[in-house]
């Protein structure tokens, strides 16, 4: 496919940052202008790319297609394992696709920028640098990329994230809208113990519970709870009639609960909840009787 040379090709700004996602990783960033007075019908990703060369202009193997023509930004991310020597005067190029543009001529369809020590920055400068780049683009495009508080709005977020994938996880504070994934511990327990307890009910008791439940229009679970409460009430009432002490009666009544769990009338979860409430109530009554 034939694509004409751009009317001009230039580099506006270039910078390298490190320690973005892991110690030792690097991001090479460039603001460029591949200017066409008449836009080609082919997309920029097919015709132009960003590439990194060493000081002898040997290709390092790292390149990335441009997203757009005209004034825009792009970056190349290197993991810690891929990272190049920090502070070296690498050459960053905006260049035509060699398969389309031949020959590649500096200043015509290729622009090379040599890095200097001053182009290398630590991660702390990253957010502020990007906001400054957004302001430059915003002024030129006359398209709003920043909020009044100098955060990337939806438009700015879209195009900066296209140029720097995952940017919102590196510097979320420069985005107007961002999302965080909370950390959590996944549970790995099952209800097998509780289920096996309920199976102690057996077919006879189960049938009786089902029949009683159907008779009153309820479920066997509610019927089991009702019978447990009846059992506990009888035990507690008998104990109170003998001992005349509410707290002891309540304590003895609570013994009905583990019994109900064991024979499968109620689930152990329910028992734990009820036991907790009974224990609290017992404590209150005990303390009241002692100090009231």
């Amino acid at each position: 496919m034939a694509v004409s040379d751009p009317d001009s090709i230039s580099v506006g700004s270039v910078a390298v940052f490190r320690n973005l996602r892991e110690d030792g990783d690097q991001l090479f960033f460039i603001r460029y202008d591949v200017s066409y007075a008449v836009e080609p019908s082919q997309v920029a990703s097919e015709t132009f790319q960003m590439a990194i060369y060493d000081t002898d202009l040997i290709f390092t193997g790292f390149s990335r297609p441009l997203n757009y023509y005209q004034h825009n930004i792009i970056s190349i991310y290197l993991t810690a394992d891929e990272a190049l020597t920090w502070g070296t005067e690498y050459r960053v190029r905006i260049m035509g696709n060699p398969g389309i543009f031949s020959p590649l001529v500096e200043g015509v369809n290729m622009k090379t920028q040599a890095l200097s020590g001053g182009d290398y920055y630590e991660i702390e400068a990253f957010g502020g640098y990007l906001i400054a780049q957004a302001q430059i683009l915003e002024d030129d495009w006359e398209i709003t990329l920043l909020t009044a508080g100098d955060l990337l709005n939806t438009t700015g977020s879209t195009y900066f994230t296209k140029a720097i994938p995952g940017l919102n996880t590196i510097v979320p504070e420069i985005f107007q809208f961002t999302s965080y994934s909370p950390t959590y511990n996944a549970t790995n327990w099952t209800t097998s113990g509780e289920d096996s307890m309920l199976e102690h009910r057996g077919p006879v008791l189960n049938a009786a519970l089902e029949d009683l439940a159907n008779w009153v229009g309820s479920s066997s679970s509610w019927m089991g709870l009702f019978l447990t409460v009846m059992m506990a009430s009888m035990l507690g009432g008998t104990a109170y009639a003998s001992l005349r002490t509410p707290s002891l009666a309540l304590l003895l009544a609570s013994f009905a609960l583990p019994l109900a769990v064991w024979i499968g009338l109620i689930s152990i979860t329910l028992w734990m909840l009820v036991f907790l409430m009974v224990a609290i109530l017992f404590g209150v009554l005990f303390i009241q009787s002692r100090f009231g």
Partner: protein, 100 residues
């Protein structure tokens, strides 16, 4: 007069903004005032430079007075284009139906 010979932004970005209600609602008036809207920008991005510059020069010279006759000499003087460029540009605009 703004520079119309150069396209500052890829029209594909403008197309995205035009088709996305949330992104479009955030935009200030600068782009609209300069280019007459995203749709017009996309159209102009595909036309030769002389047609684009001629069109916006005509718009500027009309100053909102639609129907005001603008001469080729006025376009040449205001835009800096040559007479041949103005002639080619206006012919293209007529073919596109943008001027009469």
């Amino acid at each position: 007069m703004p520079e119309y010979k150069r396209l500052p932004v890829d029209s594909r970005i403008v197309k995205d903004i035009q088709s996305s209600p949330m992104m479009y609602s955030e935009q200030g008036s600068g782009f609209m005032q300069r280019w007459g809207g995203p749709g017009m920008y996309r159209t102009m991005a595909r036309l030769p430079m002389e047609a684009r510059v001629s069109y916006y020069t005509i718009v500027e010279l009309q100053g909102g007075e639609e129907g005001r006759l603008v001469t080729a000499d006025e376009i040449e003087t205001a835009s800096g284009l040559s007479s041949q460029e103005v002639s080619r540009g206006v012919d293209l605009l007529r073919k596109e139906g943008l001027v009469t």
